[in-house]
């Protein structure tokens, strides 16, 4: 509103100057003053109503918040203040440390296979046949199912012992932080066997 008033006043002032002549000066000056007074009373009337009815927003509180945010940004940007350590590889408030990839072992809810927590989402994606390479995974899942059925016939002791050893080795190797590609290979190997 103030910008509009200033703009209008400048325009009127220019208008008066441009029509500077002896005959017109008194009338234009009178008209200009009248309009200026009207605009001022308009703004005063509105501000008076806002103030009396308590409708002005709490600008002081807003300014306080802005000041706090500005101070916070300055303080955080200052490298001498060691406000925040690196997110990973630190001890949390419970005194615990965590590996970069979560190593909790639990059974997959879809197929019941043991899986590491940090690898659960990519495993579940293939297991549920969703997302990328869905068609290929469905085929492999069917193959795995057939293999599981065929293994039911022979003696359980002689068949499951090497499988569990292989699975343990695979888990141990994954736990040592191999790359994702290597992990995928071992997952494929597990599915194939």
């Amino acid at each position: 509103m103030l910008v509009t008033v200033v703009y209008l006043l400048s325009y009127l002032y220019f208008f008066v100057l441009w029509n500077n002549s002896d005959v017109n000066v008194p009338k234009l000056s009178y008209f200009f003053l009248d309009l200026l007074d009207s605009i001022i009373v308009d703004v005063a009337s509105e501000c008076h109503r806002v103030a009396r009815l308590g409708l002005d927003s709490n600008l002081e509180e807003e300014d306080e918040e802005l000041k706090l945010s500005a101070q916070a940004r300055v303080r955080v940007a200052d490298p001498s203040n060691s406000n925040e350590a690196n997110g990973k590889y630190v001890v949390d408030i419970f005194g615990q440390t965590h590996p970069p990839v979560a190593n909790e072992i639990f059974d997959c809810l879809n197929c019941g296979r043991s899986i590491m927590a940090g690898r659960f989402a990519p495993h579940l994606e293939k297991c549920m046949g969703k997302g990328r390479k869905a068609r290929l995974k469905v085929t492999r899942s069917s193959t795995a199912t057939q293999n599981r059925y065929s293994r039911g016939g022979p003696s359980p002791g002689s068949t499951h012992s090497p499988y569990s050893n292989y699975s343990t080795n695979s888990m141990n190797r994954l736990a040592y932080g191999t790359s994702t590609f290597a992990g995928e290979e071992h997952s494929n190997g597990t599915l194939e066997s």
């Binding site: 509103m1 009396r52 925040e84 949390d92 979560a102 809810l109």
Partner: protein
Amino acid sequence: MSSKINGQISPLPCPHLAEFHRTSAKPFLALHNCLRIKPPGGRASLRRNPDEVPRCCACGLSAPSRLYACVTCAAVSCHSSAAGVLSHAAAHAASMPPGHQIAVDVDRAELFCCACRDQVYDRDFDAAVVIAQTAASTLGGDPPPPIPSPQPENLRKKRRVDYWPWAPDLRERALIGSFSGPIAGAETVVDHSPGLPRGLRGLNNLGNTCFMNSVLQALLHTPPLRNYFLSDRHNRFFCQKKNNGDVDVDAAVKRSGGNNGNKNARICLACDMDATFSAVFSGDRAPYSPAKFLYSWWQHAANLATYEQQDAHEFFISMLDGIHEKVEKGRRKPHTEGNGDCCIAHKVFSGILRSDVTCMACGFTSTTYDPCIDISLDLEPNQWGSTKMATATSNHSCNGEADCMNSSQICGTSTLMGCLKRFTRAERLGSDQKIFCRQCQVRQETLKQMSIRKLPLVSCFHIKRFEHSSTRKMPRKVDRYLQFPFSLDMSPYLSSTILRNRFGNRIFPFDGDELDASDELCSEFELFAVVTHSGKLDAGHYVTYLRLSNRWYKCDDAWVTQVDENIVRAAQCYMMFYVQKMLYYKATDKHVAS
């Protein structure tokens, strides 16, 4: 006598106005026919005829800037601004017998006391002005009644009841003993970190699932949601038992053998949320793997079930939709959409937005109400700083003027309040989006203005941090800083405030105004969770900051650390969760069954 209605003070009337009210019955009824609204939606003025040029009775001048009409005898007097010249309006008030002190500013329709030489405010006079302004915008068509504003169906008011402590009866005690364990018992549960607030626990990243962990951390500490699940309002054992019963019936009909008992359980995100609450609030501080939740959510939202990094806001919307859908199907009752009473997700997060579309030719306004569970806000454009204007000047935003003024202190800084102001600002729709006006019967240019009709218990603000570059047609992430307050007053964005500004801040019960002062709407919110994002649009990391017992904790997947509040203030916010400062109990319609 000074009562507060939604932040608006009714000032004490001056003795002359009080005397005027005592002597005259229905004093401003005659003025109703003289009120004119010059352009549609403009300011009110006082004219006996539309083309009347008022003159001062004493000096006959029509040019002075201020003319006052006496409300008792309708005499028009002038008040010159020149020093030394006697005011004819004051002379009129002094010379007449008592009762002529109150006058109306002819050009602005404002009450003025000539004896006190000050503007005075009266509810009845303002109501007459608002009624005249409303009638002017519906001049041609069928005039709707302005005073009883049409209340939407889903805004039925419920009485507030006082809080009384709850004690379980015999049946409830048996229920507690069977499937629930108390939390507060320090003897039973081994709390490894006694000094830290309960419910703080890291969430393991299952592989690009930081988006899920960050939103889950915020929801686990949403006060109404936490109270709901920790009070066993949704017990997963009973829910699954009931669902398994249904599935067994289906299985008996289809005669299909189930491979795994786990697969017979129907998808229920509320059950998985209950399991997550139990695990996180159990006192165990080792990081928890929300694998069951991810599995159920991937079955609910199959299109988002990929290993790629997902959007936290999209997950939030999808999860609340899943909770709502499950409860909706379980109850098997038809419910009004967006009622806010259907499920816990909508009870907590559901608000109502009001959209007004005003014809710029005749001033006819069409109003619609939409439910919303969060508010997505655009960041202010780059060339605009945060505008700081008084509330009165936003009256001119009805004309579509774009007032742009940068304060020297916050030049170039975007603020949440600036985004909300921009969200609720009157937006002029372009000439290519003309809307059919029911009154003009042709397509007209319109003004559209949003406002918040009903505030949710928890307000979630989502900042849109992506934009399409005009030169290269690729989406890009907006990394600009947005200032957000720890305490937020939402009253400037309510429908009642927006409408009051549109009508010139008159004292009138607008849509959403509660007349009873004790039932005043609580529009003050406190920040309790911030989800921040760092990185690019396609690859990044989400982190949640939680405020518990007035301390801030950073939840970075499995790592939970305490941080200073300056770090939260300087963070790049993506989703902000505010809870109402004062929560209360409502009287319930139906009988609460266990």
